[in-house]
Symmetry: C2
């Protein structure tokens, strides 16, 4: 059986923000280039499950029901879970337990779409396997950081690094616990 | 006349810390390799002046007088300036004014050795010209961040990027004001 990996694929400013003030994502436009997805399609092809924070979900799903993740099983981490099932499940239980259950079941890799709280919990639970960061050439100065303060230190192993004509620098790390 | 550039050459963890708790720099050992200085010698050859924060100075200068920067003119930014002159000057005046004066005088580039306060002031004064960040493959979780919160947003232009067998990823940016 394929060992399912829990993978983060995310863009940040050089000062480490995944969004500016008021969840502003317009800085991502700086690196938009025709026909260049910076590896997202390959990443998405290797995952069949998405675990996403409630706030992020509300940003990417305009009506709160239809999924931009196509055929994937989506778990929306939300304090107010509901009994919905199907391709989008609201999940109000323990994140660590959900991820452990997913990893021990069969499937492709697991795509994490979340902010500092979710990433922090996954790192502290030693469940995040891989981090791919695309650094956008800007300092935002304030906003939502990717990593929250107070994490346990953790070593990384560089697996791939490169840059693009837009100025985006991408590096993929395996997390070493 | 050569236009003197104000340049930062610095290493951070992937989560953006230049030092761990208690100014711990031991994470830098992770990428120490025989004969590999990650471009520092070239950088140092292109500068003849160092502007350094008092805390950083006290870390790198064991006796507070002898300079690890060899022949370079050193300005130690310190609230308690003293009338010393020579290769090491304690400077208690306005940092922005000092940098403006240095940039309008002849010389090689200017090397910045400072923390979030100095970097923030130089960015907000539009005086920092170039940022070279070497990212060490580790998440420190807490410590001294390179960039403080609340900076004005500023765009960057990627000038060079690459990675090394140690896992260090280096990117150099021109600051676009």
């Amino acid at each position: 059986m394929h060992t399912r990996k829990v993978r983060l694929f995310v863009a940040t400013s050089l000062d480490g923000y995944i969004a500016g003030p008021d969840h502003d994502l317009s800085f991502l436009h700086l690196v938009e280039r025709e026909g260049e997805d910076y590896g997202y399609t390959v990443y998405a092809d290797e995952t069949d499950t998405v675990v996403i924070g409630r706030n992020t979900w509300e940003k990417v799903s305009s009506d709160g029901a239809s999924s931009p993740f196509k055929e994937k099983q989506v778990y929306v981490i939300s304090s107010s879970g509901n009994p919905e099932s199907g391709p989008v499940v609201y999940y109000s239980g323990n994140l660590t337990q959900l991820i452990r259950a997913l990893k021990s079941s069969a499937g492709k890799d697991i795509q994490i779409e979340g902010g500092p709280q979710m990433i922090g919990e996954l790192l502290n639970s030693r469940l995040l396997d891989s981090i791919c960061i695309s650094t956008i050439p800007i300092l935002l100065g304030s906003g939502i950081p990717l990593f929250r303060e107070g994490l346990h230190p953790v070593k990384l192993e560089l697996q791939q690094a490169g840059s693009f004509p837009s100025g985006l620098v991408q590096a993929t790390y395996k997390v070493i616990y």
